[in-house]
Every structure is written in structure tokens, then in C-alpha cells.
Symmetry: C3
Subunit: 437 residues, 3 copies
């Protein structure tokens, strides 16, 4: 098999494996606390070594308090004939997430204020939550709602909201240095695929690949509920946050759209430039978005007290696609090839960060004679190819001030070629690494 075919096969295999993993997580009823999240972490932990942390209800985390733990066994709406019309067992989206328990009968008019639908998509169930205001409710398709006749209904939500724990998981991969790269994804959404089984799957597989590598940076993968999970983690890991050099929030990266990268609050951090560079050379329709304080957990990492260099990698952007936060964000909405492509982008970003060093040209006066080292074409009069050009760029800009990413950006040549050129020149004694001051 040619190397292109091997690569294509690897990508097919990776895509299928990622999609299968997402499929295994899909049915679990997750929320910001509860057994669903622990079951999810258990399945992730079957692939990568995961350390779990349980933070008790009531723990103060900055301006917030860890809420009660929510668990649910069943929920339904029955009509007067006893027929189940809306059933948790069919889709965990049917229940307003964090609903308080209830078991009663009521008339449709009264019930209606607890029902949520999407009139524009009458066959889709919306995803709704009420974490911080005690409430109960059902989410159903608009067609289901239209079919409800006046009369009495039995409503049952067999849930508990009690003191317990908020649970998150960490996979830590030590590197040569204590400087850390944070990969963070939210674990709280129930049966929604792109948001965020895609993020969980890609993060898990990325960790798996890094575990076998010899790394410069240490890597911390965080699997935690959105908002309160990231806040809890930040509140309990003050020392760790100081070691974070770069970070990515992974979410909505399994659909068929091209990439969107939302920059960190720092706007031009190395992670921002790295992701932009990789995307520019691999997805011409990728878009780089400015930072904004709404979104996923980059909100917390980029709050002014932390101001970490953490961006958010997405394909479709939350809130902009109709399937967002509905039952239509299902396993079919995920493309195996997209999942594999997202993993590949993450690997490329890691490779860039790992190799983004600064060098000093040891023969900085005029060009060194590449020809006698076999690093140049021997018959004059031709224009140089990309490989030779990469060598000339690295030599010209390796003054100890330009990083390889600087050189890649300025030359317009892909980082991988620039990095290869630097390796070759270093082997030939023409470059020396410059350690940061």
C-alpha cells in the first residue's frame, strides 16, 4: 500500500473507532452531577488512565456553590387511559434536566407551563436545563404537544436532588517539563452527540496517542461538567493553573462543517497562532473567530483573574446550527471522517507546540554553502523547491528571536516543513537551539 492509502485507511479506522466510542456514550443520561457522569468517566477510563475527583455538594467554588446531586430513574406523562405519551426511557432529553421529583395528576392547561417544544422543528425534542432554579418539566416534540387533548394527565418524574458530589476526571500525561497543555471538554450533556460526545471522544483518543510519546510538555485532559465543573476545577487547582501554557476546549467537532477556532482572550497567544496556522494549511474554509465571553468553558479559563491562553476548537459553532441542543444532534449528525479529521488537527497542533523552538544560525554571515552539504540542488539556474526554501527561511530568520512558528507564518510554508528543515540544519551543525531566557 502507498503511504497515501495507509493514511487514508488509518483515518477510516480512526473515524469508525471514534464514532463507535461516541455511540457507547450516547444513551447515558448525563447532567452536571450524578451517576450518568460517573458512568461516562468509567467508559473513558477504560481507554485512558483517569483519576476521578468527587467534590461535595455545598463546596464554595469562587462565586458559586457545588449544587445538590441529581439522579433520575424514570419519568413519563400518562393520559387518563394509562397510556405513556412521553417517556424518559425513550429519550433522556424528554425531561427538563435537573427536574425536581413529582408524581401527580393535573389538567393539560396546568401542565402546559412545564412543557417545552420547538414549533419550527415539530419532530425534534429540545434540550433544556434548570440547574439553579428548582423546577420540573418535560421536553417533547411539537407534534406530541399538538396531539395532547384536554383532560387529566399523570405526570411522574422519579428523580432525586440530594446532597452528593460533583465528579470530574483528569488524565495527566507527564512530559519533560512541568509546563502544561490543558485539553478540556464538558461531560454534562445527555444524549447529544456533537455537543459534546464529539469532544469527549476526540480528547480521549488524543490522550491515548500522547500516552505513548516522548513529550516536551505535560498534558492534562479534563473531563468535567460545563461551567460549574470548570469553575470547580479552577477553584481547586490554583497551583496547576499557573503551569498552563496553552489550552484547548474541544466541542462540536464531529459534524460535517469546516473548522471554527475561537481565539483565547489573549487574542494572539501561541495556541491561537498555532491552531490558525494548522487550519490554514489543512482546511481552506476554516474560520478564526475573535474571543468573546460567551461560549463554553473558555469563558472560565479566560476570565480576567486567570486569562489563560485557552481557545475553543469547533466545527459548527454552538447556537448557529438548527440541531444544536435538540434531539437532532444525534449519532447520525456525527461523521466518522469529521471525528478523525478533528483528531488529526489536534495531533498537528500538539506537534507544532512540541516543536515550536527557537534556533540560532551558527553561520549567520551570508548563506552557508548548502551545496557542499548536499542540501541544495547542484545545477544552478533553477528556482529552489519548497524544501530548500524552508532551509533558507530557517537559516535567515534563526537569530534567536524568531520561533519556528514565526518562520512558518512569515514564509507561508507549513510548520511541518519548517520543522523538518530545522532538524536537518541542526544535524548539519548549522543551528543551535536557543533556550528561553
Amino acid at each position: 500500500m502507498s503511504s497515501g492509502i495507509v493514511e487514508q485507511k488509518n483515518r477510516l479506522d480512526a473515524g469508525a473507532e471514534l464514532h463507535n466510542f461516541a455511540r457507547s456514550l450516547f444513551p447515558i443520561c448525563r447532567s452536571i452531577t450524578g451517576d450518568g457522569i460517573r458512568e461516562t468517566l468509567r467508559l473513558i477510563g477504560e481507554r485512558i488512565s483517569l483519576k476521578l475527583f468527587d467534590v461535595p455538594t455545598g463546596t464554595q467554588v469562587f462565586d458559586w456553590t457545588v449544587p445538590k446531586e441529581w439522579n433520575i430513574r424514570d419519568a413519563y406523562i400518562k393520559d387518563s387511559s394509562g397510556k405513556r405519551l412521553v417517556e424518559f426511557q425513550q429519550s433522556n432529553l424528554h425531561v427538563l434536566n435537573y427536574s425536581t421529583p413529582i408524581h401527580t395528576t393535573m389538567r393539560l392547561t396546568e401542565l402546559k407551563s412545564h412543557l417545552f417544544t420547538i414549533p419550527e422543528h415539530p419532530d425534534w425534542i429540545p434540550y433544556k436545563t434548570s440547574y439553579y432554579k428548582e423546577n420540573w418539566g418535560f421536553c417533547l416534540t411539537h407534534n406530541q404537544l399538538l396531539n395532547l387533548k384536554e383532560g387529566e394527565y399523570e405526570v411522574c418524574i422519579d428523580s432525586t436532588l440530594e446532597n452528593g458530589y460533583l465528579t470530574y476526571g483528569e488524565c495527566f500525561i507527564p512530559g519533560k517539563t512541568a509546563d502544561e497543555i490543558l485539553i478540556s471538554c464538558h461531560t454534562c450533556h445527555p444524549s447529544l452527540a456533537n455537543d459534546n460526545l464529539s469532544g469527549l471522544a476526540v480528547a480521549t483518543f488524543l490522550a491515548e496517542r500522547l500516552l505513548s510519546r516522548n513529550l516536551r510538555y505535560s498534558y492534562r485532559f479534563l473531563f468535567a461538567p460545563g461551567t460549574i465543573g470548570a469553575i470547580t476545577w479552577l477553584a481547586q487547582n490554583n497551583e496547576t493553573t499557573k503551569r498552563i501554557r496553552h489550552g484547548l476546549v474541544l466541542t462540536c467537532i464531529g459534524d460535517r462543517n469546516s473548522f471554527h477556532y475561537k481565539k483565547s482572550r489573549q487574542d494572539n497567544a501561541e495556541i491561537d497562532r498555532s491552531v490558525a496556522h494548522i487550519l490554514k494549511h489543512s482546511d481552506p474554509s476554516a474560520k478564526i473567530l475573535p474571543f468573546s465571553p460567551y461560549g463554553y468553558d473558555e469563558r472560565q479559563y479566560c476570565s480576567p483573574g486567570f486569562n489563560l491562553a485557552v481557545g475553543c476548537l469547533m466545527r459548527s459553532v454552538w447556537g448557529t446550527f438548527p440541531e444544536y441542543h435538540t434531539s437532532a444532534d444525534n449519532l447520525d449528525f456525527l461523521s466518522p471522517d469529521s471525528l478523525a479529521g478533528s483528531l488529526s488537527i489536534c495531533v498537528s497542533v500538539v506537534n507544532l507546540l512540541e516543536n515550536n523552538l527557537r534556533y540560532k544560525n551558527l553561520a549567520p554571515f551570508c548563506e552557508p554553502q548548502l551545496g557542499r552539504r548536499g542540501l541544495y540542488h547542484s545545477t544552478g539556474g533553477n528556482t529552489p523547491d519548497l524544501e530548500i526554501n524552508a532551509r533558507l527561511w530557517v537559516l535567515n530568520l534563526s537569530d534567536g528571536k524568531h520561533s519556528l512558528l514565526d518562520i512558518a507564518e512569515q514564509s507561508g510554508i507549513a510548520f511541518s516543513l519548517i520543522s523538518d528543515a530545522a532538524d536537518l540544519l541542526k544535524k548539519n551543525g548549522l543551528l543551535e537551539e536557543v533556550k528561553p531566557a
Copy 2:
């Protein structure tokens, strides 16, 4: 009445009042000195408290000297039958402004070198001046010129050019701080409406509105003849110039064109950014122009010895519209609605400058829990509206370094919404003002 209708009625009223005020000033024969300017200041002084300053002829003001005072009673050209062909009483533009007195007869050929017309607009009278080279002349329509037959004419300019005073007026409105905002407009043009009764009217009404307010900045409104007036004021108010933080020259702001703002020499001063922001959010076709050393009195304020942050707000730009410096720049050329709109922009700019503070987020680690303070929507899963977004932006960027204008610019949200959000967050104990070092 709905608030929209109230606003519309207010604007209609303001427009009519502004136009009426311009109408009352229109007939007066103004120049850089003389009774016309004093009569103009008297009428302005009927609306706002104005302090008048008389600077004697011969006073040295930097590189210039206050010129003799010019006054005029009458002027005409009579043909040999005694018929008045060109009459000052019909339009004060008919006389070359600052003409020395003359009463004689001469042949048309000789007279012609003292006549000015606009061949391209044969029914318009041009506006011409000769302040610093003693001369006399008449401005007439080109059709009038074509009708002049060969022969003798009696020419009379009943003017005086004698030692006297250059007069300017100031309205000072003290605020909480000694820092000043300067609003400057030129009072020297005779019967020309857009240039600059529009500026005089809007400045007068703006002062009127500010007199009743509780202000952070002190405001100085300067009504002075162009060039020599601004130079005289700067020469005599050296200490005051050091307190000027921001300033605007108002001119040509009554016609029907969209806004043009010419930036100060500093190019990116707070006044430049403030006006640009307000215009961006209220007049999509507004244009921001770079500084140039020709124009109105911003030339003097932005001379390198002062380099004050003073820009120039216009609708049509001087010299670019055919009516400029002709009798066609009359009261019909002014639109009441444009005058009201210009006043409204000025008020918005003042509001921005008054409220452009810096805050420190008092809960800077992660987002504060807005929900429990009633500052967030309670059902999760929705994208936030503009008001909530404004709160998130203010919290995220309030690190003591970003002003509210910085935040408005970066977020793309109108300053008024950003400022409202800051007020609300401050009331909720989440923000604290940061005083400049």
C-alpha cells in the same frame, strides 16, 4: 404617546428651534471683527450665559497681529442712470469682506478687476474675503456681470477699517473636575447658513442642555472668528489649553449629507474613537477622515505646539459641495432634522466621554453567578441576548486596563448598553471604578 413617538416629537421640536435660531442670525453681516460678530454673540447670549472678550487691534498673538476692526454700513454699484445694480442691503455677500472704503466712479474695464463671480453657477454670489491685504471689491452673480454694459459706474463701499477690537465669547460650564472639553465654532461668516450658523446653533443648544446637568468634565464653548479668533484665544489662554482633554470643532453640520468626522492630529485620541463609535452605531454611511493641516480651527488646536485632541465634526466637508462659500449656502440648505440629528450626536458623544470609566471586576476568577442575582436567564440552553452579553463583556474586560469604550469597541456593542451594564454590575457589587493613576 410611545417613547418612540416622544423621541420623534422632541427631534422635530429641536430641529425647528435650531432652524429658527439660525434664521435669526442669518441676516447679520459678520466678519472677523466688527459689530456683526458682537450682535451675533448677543443673540447667543440670550440663550446661554456668555462672557465676551475684546482684544484690541495690534495685539500680538503668536505669529499674528489682531487686525483693525472692520464695519460697514452700505455698499453699491450704480450705473450712469443712478440705478443700483449691486446692493449690500440685498446680500452682505455682495461686498468683498474687509473691503476698504471707496466712493468713486470708474469705467467698467477698470471696475472688473474688483468683481468676483462664479461662472459655473451664474445665479450664485460667491463669498470672498481680503483680511490681510487691503483691497476692495464686489461679489455678484455671473448673470449680473454679463448684464453690465460698457460705461461709467459709481462704486461706493461705506466701510471703516480702524483700530478697535476682536471680540469672542465663551460659555463655561463647570463640572466635577477641572479637566475640560472644548467645543469651538467660528462666528465670522456673514450670511452663510451651513458654514457656520449650523455650528453656532448646535453649539448653543448643546451648551443649553449641559447647563442643567451634573457633569464630570468642565465644558468650554468658544464662539470666535475663524483662524485669527482661535489663534487669539490660544495666545491668551495658555493655562486653559493645558486642561483641555477633548475637543470638537463644529461646522457645516446642518445640511442633508451624512456625517464626516475629521480626526485630531493625535489620530486615535479618545475624542476620535468616541465620535467614530457613536457615528458607527447611528449613521452607517458616516465617514471618518484622517487629520490634515487644512480645514477649520482644528488647524490651530492641532498645531504641533499644542497638539490638542480636537477633531472636527461635519456633515458635508468644506470645499466639497458646490454651495460652499456661495449664496446658495442659505437657510433652505439647512435641514431642521439634520440640525437636530447633529445635536443628538453631540449629546451622545458627551455622554460617552462622561461615562467612559475604567472598572475592576471584583469577582475576576471565573464568571460570577449572575443567575442568583437575577442578571441571567434562568432556563439554560439559550443563547444570551445583547444585555446579558454586555454584562459578560464588561466583567471579562474589566481588569482596570480596559475603558468602557475599549469594551464597546471590542465587543461591537453600543457604548450606551455597555455603560448600562457597568452601572448594573456596580450596583450589584461586582465592579469597582479604577481611578487613573
Copy 3:
């Protein structure tokens, strides 16, 4: 004759003279060493005083070694009937430049690996070199190659490759200061006209014009073989390089294309801004190119150890036009008018650099009264013309920080007008030169 016609005639004369000079250099077989280069320098030395430097074979110059000297008397391919099919005497491009001597017979199949053609341009001879890998070969038209029948051929290259010298020439024109401007062009290409007889001719004529002038800067014209010549010069003139403030490599400036200027590695050096300004005001289709480490001898001057402010002025860019490095780059490819235009641009750039001073406005508070100095129009109400505008710009920005080029760039007015305005204002006592700290 009007001044326009005089100018046009001067340009016609200059163009014809430049083209004649190029014609006189065309037949010489140049290489990076050898008699051809010395004969070329002799002809240049007939016009300007040139100092020659001979650097012996084997001299170490940074990472390189001065190669053996190559000379050639004759070369040909004869068929078995003794007919000369490829002849050095017809075009010196027929020999692979730096071919080692050979005289033998061989079959066509064997010979073919030593033959170079351009199939896409079957009537053109390519230009090829093999300086640093000993080899021999012939360059011929593709049609010649197609006509070669199977059989035995006599091949003869009557060349020598022996210890000798690398020769370069310098023309130094002292100015008031020791600060130098370097003009560099490569002398190594044989019968190729645009690349680089155009550069040699324009540099020679520019030096001729500067020799009669009173100059602020000292000028150094370097005529040296490409790459190894520039490297040799840099290696042997370390002290001189420290005095170089600005520099230009001149190449491919005789064809009919519009200008291309490749910026120095510093990207925004005074030479970069100067050339860009001059081109903007004289050739609307000129293009400014970013620095890149491939090209002509700016590669060496801009290597990180030197990082000199040296850009490269071209019309067509090397490698981008089909005639590049082929026999089609002949005297017809050169336009006399283009050569004259290139010379004129170089003179304008020199004029700019010579006059790019910083001034201080001696009347910086408000505008000085230009009118009483006869520097302003006397009848008010007109917009100022370009000359007056230039004066206002110079006064406004002459704060000791802005150079005249800064002022020309910011105002959009041509440097020559800005410089004239500064001279006039200085004569009127309004400006004073500010010496660099």
C-alpha cells in the same frame, strides 16, 4: 523647447546610451571568475573610476571558498562528417558555465546526459551553470537536439579551471558623511541582457551622475559575481558593512514590465519606504514584495549576521518570465525607455535619501502667518493648492520626530514637493534642521 520636451529628449538620449552600453557588454562570456568579468569591469571603468580587487582561489570567505578561475576559448559538438552543430562562438550560452575541459568522441546516447534544452521553447538556448560540482555540458535549442541523429560526435570544450582570482570592482563616491549607500549588481551572467546587463548599465550611469554632485551620503557601487562575489566582498569588508545605511541590488531592470521592489529583511527600513514612495508616485502598477531569503545578493546582505537595509529593485522578477535564464533574454528584450526609467527611479530614490531630514517648526504654536511672507494665497475663500498644502503639512508635522518621508507618506504628497516646501520654509526662518541624537 518646453521643459517637458527637454525631459523627454533627455530620457530618449539616456535610454539610447544605456542600451548601447549594454550592447557593448553583451558578447562577453562572463562567469563568476575569469577574463570575461575583467573585460566587463574594464568597459565599466571607461565610464566611472573603478577600483579592481583580485581575491585568490582558495581564499576562505565565511562558509565558502573562492573557487578556481574558469576561462574558455572555444567549444563545439561536431558530427561524424566534421560539421559543427553546436558552437560556443555563436553563443556563449551553448556551454554549461564552468564546464571542465573535454575533447573526445562519444555516441549520442552517452552525450545526451550532458545536453540541456527547453522543450517548451524549442528555439531558445537555456543558461545553466555548474560552479561547485565539476561537470561539463552543452546547452542547445530543443530543435537542435531533435535534429541530432544516432551516431558518434566529437565534443570539445577548450576551457581551463585553475588557480587564479575572483575579481570584483568598486566605485566609491565620497560624501559629506561616512554613512554609505551600497548599490550592488552581479557581473557573472554571460550573454543575458536583462539579467544583468540592465543592472550593470543603470548602476554605471547612476554612479556617473553622482560623481558630479555634492552628496550627504557616501556611495559605494559594487560590481561583483553573484553569490560568491557578494560573500567575498562581505568577508573582506567587515568595517565597511558597518557604515552601510541603505542599499539596493539592481537586477532585471531593463525589460518592459512595471517595477517590482523586494523589501529588505528589516521590512520597513528607510530604503524600503523610500523606494515604495517613489514608485507609488511614478508607476501606479509597481508592486512591493516582502523579503524572502531567495533571490539575488540581497540574500547575503540580509543574512542574519548582517541584516543590512538592502532591497532589490527589479522590473520583471527573476524566475517569473519565460525569457529568464535563456537566450531570449537578449538585447531586444531590453527597452531603452525602460532602462532610462529605471535610472530615473534610482536618481529619485537617491534624491529622497539625500534630503530625508527632520525639522523643527520654529513657530509651533498655531500656524505661522504664511500670507505676510508671500507663502499663501491672498484672497480668502479658496482651498489651497498642493504647494501650500505641502507647506502646511511640513509645518504641522515638523516636531523633530517626523522625517520629510514620514510627512510625505502621511500627507500623500510626493516627497519632492514636501522637500521643496521644507527648503522654502527654512529659508523663511520657520524651520530648523534637527540633527539625529
